[in-house]
Symmetry: C2
């Protein structure tokens, strides 16, 4: 029997709170034997990835307490309930089935008489058939010419995840013969976004994907209208250039305005939709359906790891609980995500949504106010660029900010240059290793301006190469990490009530229905 309890009512909470926190990461990692610690504090993931927490401020005692927390909070059991179809999204009274878009982890999930696994698999197949026809020139523009570009119109989860995934694989696909179509993205209601994307675009040979679960997202419908105008101005029929990704109940689902429609449903949150049709359509068109399937396979394999009962063999849960320890017991309010891979340039922006929108909550899953910290601020940029930017504060600032590194042993494009006795890839990897140790161990100096306090905790996910499988695994890892943290904090990680008020007030402004402060700001912005 699962019970949902506030974090601060658990025995493990009390134990962690009262635990001696004098462990010195700096001392530990400065020992000659620290190599053993690094080797031991390692957890195998799927698809050639490893989660290493050697430089986290934890020892056996903390890990033991986190194991007790995992058990007392019934994290594996809650995950089981989730993938078996329980209504985990209590606020919106919905199941949470994004893991099912990439494989079956438990029982069949039947909702409204539909086998949901079959439903999601059917979308993958429909997209596959459609993409293959586009690539074969069987689905073309009005002149019978092949489409060369795909442009996704969506915002939030319909944009950040798919865009980050596309960018992560674009170069890999180019050098490995999988690049089929260029992908572009329009998201912002700022008309300069659509205008600038369309400015340089070969619109005549572009297929647009309109992505909105409800079919009512204002930004997305506005941008659709913008694009339709552009098509019409060129004498093109919008209905021959657009497909939709939406729910079956949305006004877009059976509209003649689209060449085809592919479906998601209410059990897939926007920020968890990269492995649904929301990501699948653009990835299948850009790189071919087999690449999308490899991406899904990577995510599925990592979901399997999240079922593991032994905390030390469950990378997502371990990452989650160390994060909780840092947030609630060490008091760190933010976390930086630092991928040493230019291909992951927008991965931090995706994680920022995933984590902050899921766990930026102040009430528990029953709507009761809680008295402990939940999700931290997430930010980040690729290394080595970040080293020449905000790392100064990370090393010598007055706050400690836990770090999540990501690195790979091989490049994607396999072109390199050897100067000063090493390749760029080696320089990149050397910098990751150096930074982790610099943050953990610091350095003393007679001049306080050159002192590094150290004791800055970090973990790293290391992979062989950023392939579709590795990307899928990476994505699933963080989705599952966020889920486990939400379970610990006893919050609903799958709704987003915090976005509503702004929408309501924006409508008032547009309707001219304003007084006081709202009227003043509307006037200031000339609306």
């Amino acid at each position: 029997m699962i019970s949902w309890n506030n974090f601060d009512t658990l025995k493990a909470y009390k134990k962690l709170e009262e635990m001696d926190k004098t462990f010195s990461l700096k001392d530990e990692m400065s020992k000659a034997s620290a190599g053993d610690r690094v080797a031991n504090y390692s957890c195998r993931m799927s698809s050639g990835l490893t989660y290493n927490y050697g430089s986290k401020a934890v020892d056996e005692k903390v890990l033991e307490a986190l194991k007790e927390l995992a058990s007392e909070a019934q994290l594996v059991e809650k995950f089981e309930a989730l993938y078996n179809g329980e209504v985990i999204n209590t606020g919106e009274k919905r199941r949470v089935l994004h893991q099912l878009t990439r494989g079956q982890l438990g029982n069949d999930v039947i909702a409204d008489g539909v086998n949901k696994r079959a439903f999601y698999a059917e979308q993958v197949e429909k997209i596959k058939a459609f993409a293959n026809k586009v690539h074969a020139g069987e689905i073309t523009n009005a002149k019978g010419e092949k489409f060369t570009t795909v442009c996704q119109i969506g915002i939030g989860g319909s944009d950040l995840g798919p865009r980050a995934m596309y960018l992560a694989l674009e170069n890999w696909a180019k050098v490995n013969g999988f690049f089929k179509m260029n992908a572009k993205f329009i998201s912002n209601v700022d008309p300069d976004d659509a205008a600038s994307v369309l400015y340089d675009m070969d619109v005549e040979h572009t297929i647009f994907i309109l992505v909105s679960k409800s079919g009512t997202t204002l930004e997305t419908l506005t941008n659709e209208s913008f694009v339709k105008d552009a098509l019409k101005n060129r004498g093109l029929d919008p209905a021959k250039h657009m497909i939709a990704v939406t729910s079956e109940t949305s006004p877009l689902a059976k509209s003649a305005d689209y060449l085809a429609a592919f479906f998601m449903d209410d059990f897939i949150g926007g920020r968890y939709s990269s492995t649904s049709a929301v990501g699948g359509a653009v990835l299948s068109l850009a790189f071919g359906p087999e690449i999308n399937e490899r991406f899904l396979a990577g995510a599925k394999a990592e979901d399997q790891n999240a079922k593991e009962k032994d905390l030390l063999k469950n990378p997502a849960m371990l990452d989650a609980l160390i994060g909780v320890y840092e947030r609630n017991f060490l008091g760190y309010p933010s976390t930086a995500v630092l991928p040493y891979s230019q291909a992951l340039s927008r991965f931090p922006a995706h994680l920022q949504q995933l984590d902050m929108e899921s766990n930026g909550k102040s009430v528990n899953r029953f709507g009761e106010v809680i008295n402990y910290k939940t999700g931290p601020v997430i930010f980040g940029e690729p290394g080595t660029n970040g080293q020449h930017s905000f790392y100064q504060l990370l090393h010598q600032g007055t706050d400690i900010i836990p770090l999540q590194f990501i690195g790979f042993k091989e490049t994607q494009m396999e072109t390199d240059v050897n100067i000063q006795g090493s390749t760029s890839r080696e320089k990149l990897s050397a910098n990751v290793a150096a930074q982790i140790v610099a943050f953990a161990c610091g350095k003393n100096d007679e001049n306080p301006n050159k002192v590094f306090e150290g004791n800055r905790p970090s973990s790293i996910i290391v992979g062989d190469k950023l392939t579709p499988e590795a990307l899928g695994a990476l994505l699933a890892h963080f989705e599952n990490k966020v889920m486990f943290q939400g379970f610990v904090w006893n919050i609903n990680s799958f709704d987003q009530e915090g976005v509503q008020l702004g929408k309501v007030l924006a409508k008032k402004v547009l309707a001219g229905d304003t007084t006081g402060a709202l009227k003043a700001y509307a006037s200031l912005l000339n609306v």
Copy 2:
């Protein structure tokens, strides 16, 4: 006479610390009269911009104390000393002259017998002459064909600022007839960065700008080598395709490897170099020298505002001191930058470097450890995209995060669409107004999950339109804000000792000179 004292030794510090902090932004902004407050808490900037702090958690009493702080900390006098050429960068024993790259605010600054204003102005003129020749087809590739693309190779301040400025004006230039050349950027030592930029590039018609003040930045030299290989592989002579931006004393300055060299010097920090040749070369080539000059004029005009002694008429100082109040007395550890302009997509990344690298310090300007918080974490993404991402946490998370909005009354590209009774531009502006009020005032609800606590402070910079002048003013505003905060905290905002240790350890890894933890991580990353 200027005296440099730690913040916590000032009378104003004590006053602010002991001040009653029960002011309720929510209550104040929910009043019918809040419109007056919004109108009053406004400070005119240059180039059509206004800094509005109506939704900051300050009242007359706080502002009065901040005035006393500005006076006691001698902020205007310190700025005067800086622009008159005093050695403000104490750690590196350097003057700080980036304001001089865009105009003379005080006395002539003579260093080593050189009039520095004349020196910087000369670079602008040299770049202008060079760019005009490139645009006129007088400087061409070996075949006598015009260059069509410019590619900047640099990292940190040689990348983030110039890239953000280019992106901010790219679309404006396109629709206003100023777009001369496409610009690309290579920064990361990850070889996939250079490889992917070169993959789609018309290398034969590209002029590369190598940017490194010292001429020894490892990432940049590595990427130069990468690019030279690419040129040679195409049978092209690198020396006919490359220019350098560097200091006169660097090995690049008089090298025959470059078509031309333009100079900055040690008095321009990387993160403050957008208005020097570092930004000037790429902006002049991309948009024409007159656009660069308009950008400089905007920055200069805003620098003038920073000289103002009356705090309420000095937008950068006001912004700085309100930020200090939030950081040191209200205890907020991070700040989000939220431009409602897709053109400013990389402006938050630039501010992240500018702010965090300048003020992420734990020692004062004399190298003594300090006992108060300095620079916060800075992060952000353009609105309305952010609304569909991390705003959930900003509205309903357990921490309060001050917000910096930026908005404009007009679009850059002047193409728009009217649906549901409003244009996209109106929707964009309505959303800014709505968010500010939602954050400040919140909303009560019977269901705690739908409650918005409010009391989330924000300020907004509103402009007419994002022109070169407005962009220059915006840039200078934040540079000056960061400078004033550094003065208050009594730190050196112009060095970056925190980047050194990582470099030293990375060299050790590449030399195979590792033990313990460093050896283990090097092995993990296969280097």
